[in-house]
């Protein structure tokens, strides 16, 4: 048994050095050589394209009604027959209708991470009239802007089509 114990302690230390420190430092070093932008969090001028933000105010495309608190990610975890979920969704439906936006599933439900940076193309098109109105732009022009920002799912089938809200709003800010 003492032989086992001595070996267990030594092997634990070896794996600590190998799978913990050596693996972690080699990984971080190589990532920074090959993929510096991604390894640092895909950060652009106005935030990370991978982390959702709240876009309040009428002139912006809004994301999903997530908490958007990056330091505490996580879903709302409400079940499909939860009264709390119905109330939250109903509140969101009202808020959207007041802004002249037809509610879509993506815009009334929260995401799994609480930080979804994307909306579906349907969610984006639903907001075109409201955004165009607030900015005094022609709706077809804004529609065209959305269309040019739809990311087709990778290879055409991996995951779903999506629109990155930060990219779309950054492009919107350039429109005059």
């Amino acid at each position: 048994m003492l032989v086992h114990l001595r070996r267990a302690v030594i092997l634990t230390i070896i794996f600590f050095a190998l799978c913990g420190l050596a693996y972690g430092y080699a990984a971080t070093g190589l990532s920074h050589v090959l993929f510096r932008h991604q390894a640092d969090g895909s950060i652009t001028a106005n935030g990370s394209t991978l982390i959702g933000q709240s876009w309040s105010g009428p002139g912006w495309f809004q994301g999903r009604p997530d908490s958007n608190t990056p330091m505490a990610s996580g879903a709302a975890n409400l079940g499909p027959r939860s009264q709390a979920l119905e109330q939250a969704a109903a509140k969101q439906v009202d808020a959207l209708k007041k802004q002249g936006i037809q509610p879509t599933p993506g815009l009334v439900t929260t995401s799994g991470s609480g930080l979804d940076p994307d909306i579906s193309p349907t969610d984006a098109y639903a907001q075109v009239d409201a955004v165009a109105g607030a900015r005094h732009l022609a709706a077809p022009q804004v529609h065209q802007l959305v269309a040019s920002h739809v990311h087709i799912a990778e290879l055409g089938f991996l995951g779903s089509d999506y629109v990155n809200v930060l990219e779309l709003n950054q492009a919107l800010a350039q429109v005059r």
Binding site: L30, L78, S113, A153, E154, S160
Partner: protein, 563 residues
């Protein structure tokens, strides 16, 4: 259509993994791989282990238990002392004692149940040097037990089943580190963060809002999290977090990684016992159950969410999107979460708690069948082999003959050990769930009301008792009751199945092989696969049906009533 092509690509990639990773693992555990000998040999010298010297099952088990004990202690100490250790840019304090104990047990048992919030509890050092290390090691321990059991079947008259130290070292060096490293690069290339710099502070000039974004060594933890069927994420949101699972490519890579070793081990098994067809029969049982569960769960998640419909959004063409990420979508999220619950990985790309009742039933029941379709790295194979022994025993009773499996007579002692291994999990889960719903400490946990709240408690113990680690995350688990009860479930779910499996390995290795005769019940036929699936479904179904009917089934049948 997208979902169809995802399945096609997944099947092709897994087919390649089954054949080539499977035979690579044979070479590794038979000691024919030596390209990392320059790392491997110094380790044996430091341990003073002769790689050729083998152990009896008792010594093998003793080494495994003591090693796991040391690992729990080391993990516990690192996360307790993280405030005094380096790589802590966010100045995280010591993790509380109860939570540290639960977490240490969780990672050493390959459960990776998370009662903590990753980004706001753990330092980078704890994530790298405590949790990631155990993600490698606990996975390799699981494979070692499976390999030892395979040796039990393939050897005759042997007093030994291999050397634990050698099997463990080889698994980590030759299988887990190389694959995890390459896959980690893909994760980072796609957008997973990998940095030791602290959080990023960004200012949005368009809205004049500020955001503090947590970062860390994530991408390469992600790859071993999936490959080792661990499931413990860097962030609380796990695989739903865009920094862990940024694109469709990483989603596909995730479920290919987490399914590849458990499926490939059936090839390793077939090859090592001398007939690949024997492995195919077991594989077929795994695939059958997996396929059916993916089918109905994906279908269920493509349905509307009743609470959202009640709020006025009746038309939901994208399925149940509550708790799901836009870039992943409804059916792919269901595929991911089914794959991770049926492999005892437990990582999630969407909120399990917000799945439809049938989708949630798919997650829960997949675990209740004993994590065999295909189960965790190693644990899936050794558990389904226990079921296979029960199956030949029942088959033997039907035709009135002493049962055999792979030429080994299955007698009273073997059947007792197999039955013990099969029954530990249901007894643990049901007992603890009963304690959970009858004590006030247990009832304080659930977030949701009604049957869904019961499901949250049942799910927690099912997940921990099966070393899965996924959660119906509404449960508030970081309490003394859930930390201690959960740790008990995880320890029993791991070691009370491993020990009978290793004992079987020893007993079987010592036996002689009986030549096959006309009366031998063939175990490489569709008939055997069908019986095996039947036994798994009957054992799981009969033990858990009453409990499940109080949770998801009531919820599904509640005719639009909201709780």
């Amino acid at each position: 259509m997208g979902f169809f092509w995802t399945i096609v690509v997944m099947v092709v990639l897994l087919g390649l993994a089954w054949r080539y990773l499977g035979s690579y693992m044979v070479s590794v555990y038979e000691g024919r791989m030596s390209w990392l000998g320059w790392v491997e040999r110094p380790i044996y010298r430091a341990l003073r282990v002769d790689p050729e010297a083998e152990q009896s099952w008792q010594r093998y088990t003793g080494a495994l238990i003591i090693f796991s004990g040391v690992a729990i202690l080391a993990t516990y100490l690192i996360i307790r002392l993280q405030g005094h250790l380096p790589l802590n840019p966010q100045h995280q304090n010591a993790v509380p004692a109860g939570l540290s104990f639960n977490t240490a047990v969780s990672f050493v048992t390959n459960t990776n149940w998370q009662n903590y919030l990753g980004e706001s509890t753990m330092s980078y050092f704890s994530q790298m040097a405590a949790l990631t290390v155990q993600q490698f090691v606990s996975a390799a321990v699981g494979i070692a037990v499976a390999i030892a059991l395979i040796r039990g079947f393939s050897r005759k008259g042997s007093p030994t089943i291999g050397n634990f130290w050698v099997d463990l070292t080889r698994g980590v060096l030759y299988i887990l580190i190389p694959i995890a490293f390459i896959a980690g690069l893909v994760f980072v290339g796609q957008g997973a963060v990998q940095t030791l710099a602290g959080p990023a502070n960004v200012h949005n000039a368009l809205t004049s809002a500020n955001q503090s974004i947590p970062r860390g060594p994530v991408g390469f933890m992600e790859s071993i999290k999936q490959l080792g069927t661990n499931g413990g994420g860097f962030f609380n949101a796990n695989g739903a977090h865009p920094f862990e699972n940024p694109t469709g490519v990483t989603t596909l890579l995730s479920f290919v990684l987490l399914l590849s070793i458990p499926f490939a081990l059936t090839y390793t098994f077939g090859k090592m016992v001398g007939r690949v067809r024997q492995g195919v029969a077991v594989l077929a049982a795994m695939v059958l159950i997996f396929g059916v569960w993916v089918g109905f769960s994906s279908y269920a998640e493509h349905q509307s969410n009743p609470a959202v419909a009640a709020a006025g959004v009746v038309h939901q063409p994208t399925g149940n999107m509550e708790g799901k990420e836009t870039r992943i979508g409804d059916t792919t999220s269901a595929l991911y979460n089914i794959a991770s619950t049926q492999t005892s990985t437990g990582s999630v790309s969407a909120s399990n708690d917000s799945f439809t009742p049938i989708g949630g039933f798919g997650l829960l029941s997949g675990m209740m069948l004993g994590e065999i379709s295909p189960g965790g790295t190693g644990s899936g194979l050794y558990t389904i082999l226990l079921f296979a022994l029960v199956t030949v025993f029942l088959g033997g009773l039907m035709i009135g003959r002493t049962p055999e499996y792979l030429g080994k007579k299955i007698q009273a002692r073997e059947v007792k050990l197999a039955a013990l291994g099969v029954l530990v999990m249901p007894v643990t889960v049901l007992t603890l769930a009963a304690v959970g719903v009858t004590t006030s400490a247990g009832r304080a946990g659930p977030l949701n009301a009604g049957p869904h709240g019961f499901s949250e408690i049942l799910y927690a113990f099912t997940s921990q008792g099966n070393n899965n680690g996924s959660a119906f995350a509404g449960l508030t688990g970081n309490t003394t009751f859930y930390n201690v009860a959960g740790a008990v479930a995880m320890l029993l779910g791991r070691f009370a199945i491993m020990i009978p499996a290793l004992a079987l390995a020893g007993v079987l290795a010592a036996k002689q092989v009986v030549p096959a005769s006309a009366g031998t019940f063939k175990t490489d036929t569709p008939l055997f696969t069908g019986l095996l699936v039947g036994v798994i479904l009957i054992v799981g179904g009969l033990t858990f049906f009453p409990a499940v009917s109080l949770g998801p089934i009531v919820e599904q049948l509640s005719h639009g009533k909201l709780f």
